[in-house]
Subunit: 134 residues, 2 copies
């Protein structure tokens, strides 16, 4: 049911700057910055051999990560994204098991052009979980 | 210089319980619980197709994650571990670049029987970074 770890997301005030630091430290490939207005973030990806690190910075007045970045001025690990083969089937199973989906439960299109959903950190050991249609 | 993402670690009060929740939700393989007295933690790994999630719980009176788990009663994402081909060369490069190594800078043996080191979260966008000899 669970696929690959798609990415780990780190929320920061300046995603490009943070990605450059990782890129220089680890000689890793960095993507262009992509604004995702529907999600209220700007994203930059650092590519590792087996997965990605996603840097996100707040975009717009109602960014869902604005408070997180205020609370964590240096930045912080924000969420973990897993690939799933069938996002609707996984959503329904997790909800049946008692996990709380964020928003209205309808998948939105994420940074990779695929449907994504988020689940409440309290239901996953304090880790905000994103699932993405593989 | 940077290798694979070895694991993402989630600190919790009960590592086996947390791993079971993830295992059931995602039908993933769970390791046995392994106490690491030198690191002050008990570890349980959940295996994904491309990497691992490590659940850690405090062990002993001076566990370095005791305060984190006190502050984050539900648990929380604690660190990210990267494989590196040469831990000493990577350590020296990161220190030269201005990153702060934790402890005395001498690698300890980690959960996989290989040398590991930690770097200060303030130097990596608020994310505690572990490097492990690949």
């Amino acid at each position: 049911m669970l696929g690959r770890l798609n990415h780990v997301a780190i929320a920061v005030r300046d995603a490009e700057k943070a990605a450059r630091i990782y890129g220089a430290a680890f000689d890793a490939e960095i993507s262009a910055a992509v604004p995702l207005p529907e999600h209220g973030v700007i994203t930059v990806f650092v590519t590792l051999p087996n997965t990605k690190i996603e840097f996100i910075q707040p975009l717009g007045d109602n960014s869902p990560i604005a408070k997180f970045v205020e609370r964590n001025a240096d930045g912080g690990i924000h969420h973990i994204c897993y690939d799933v083969p069938d996002i609707i089937a996984t959503r329904d199973k997790l909800i049946k098991d008692g996990a709380r989906v964020l928003g209205d439960g309808a998948p939105k299109i994420g940074a990779h052009g695929k449907p994504v959903l988020f689940f409440h950190p309290k239901d996953f050991s304090g880790a905000l979980v994103e699932i993405e249609q593989a």
